[in-house]
Symmetry: C2
Subunit: 120 residues, 2 copies
């Protein structure tokens, strides 16, 4: 699992970090790191976010506002930040409700170029 | 257009603000304020984001992570922050690529409770 150290470092560097996952557009998880007891169904989350991302990409295409770079979804219990790695892969960071959203976004942005090189 | 002053105040208070719109889930714009020359097709944007929001709500339901509160989509040319007002209405703030995302999120969060009262 060559990326788990990077994922672990991201999750443990952000307050409220619960887990991070690199996935393909078809909902297959490439690598993941989740804290014990994060209480999430990872497979379901992978499939659901991959499916959602297709819709968001389609919306960006229709609106002609450039390539999708980042998607963030905040709900009553979680904050999910998704950052595009390349045409096929993305990384998702899951934070608890009071997680440090700004730092999470910063860390994903910082790590994505390195991931892009290693995954190309 | 009773909400246009609030929308104008949000757009003009954030660096890179291009426009803001209150919409219903069915893609009908309730009120809007856009800078001249923002270069966006508002009707298309309303319909597309309303449609996308349904998918995001569905995802939040499936994952059982609480009610959707906020969605943000960053693309090559724009940053769109959507905040839920109530079951039927949401507000979207559109910023240029270098817009102040943190301040935009803060302003929407601050204004939504007032909008909720006026719209209920």
């Amino acid at each position: 699992m060559p990326f788990s150290e990077t994922l672990k470092s991201i999750v443990e560097s952000v307050e409220g970090g619960l887990g991070a996952i690199i996935m393909a557009d078809d909902g297959i998880a490439i690598d993941e790191y989740f804290l014990d007891g994060a209480g999430m169904d990872l497979n379901l989350m992978a499939v659901e976010y991959a499916s959602l991302l297709k819709e968001v990409k389609r919306t960006a295409d229709v609106l002609k506002t450039g390539m999708l770079e980042e998607l963030a979804v905040n709900t009553g219990q979680s904050r999910v930040i998704v950052r595009i790695i390349n045409d096929e892969l993305f990384i998702a960071l899951i934070l608890g409700r009071d997680g440090n959203y700004g730092k999470g976004r910063y860390l994903l942005r910082r790590e994505v170029s390195g991931l892009r090189e290693r995954l190309s």
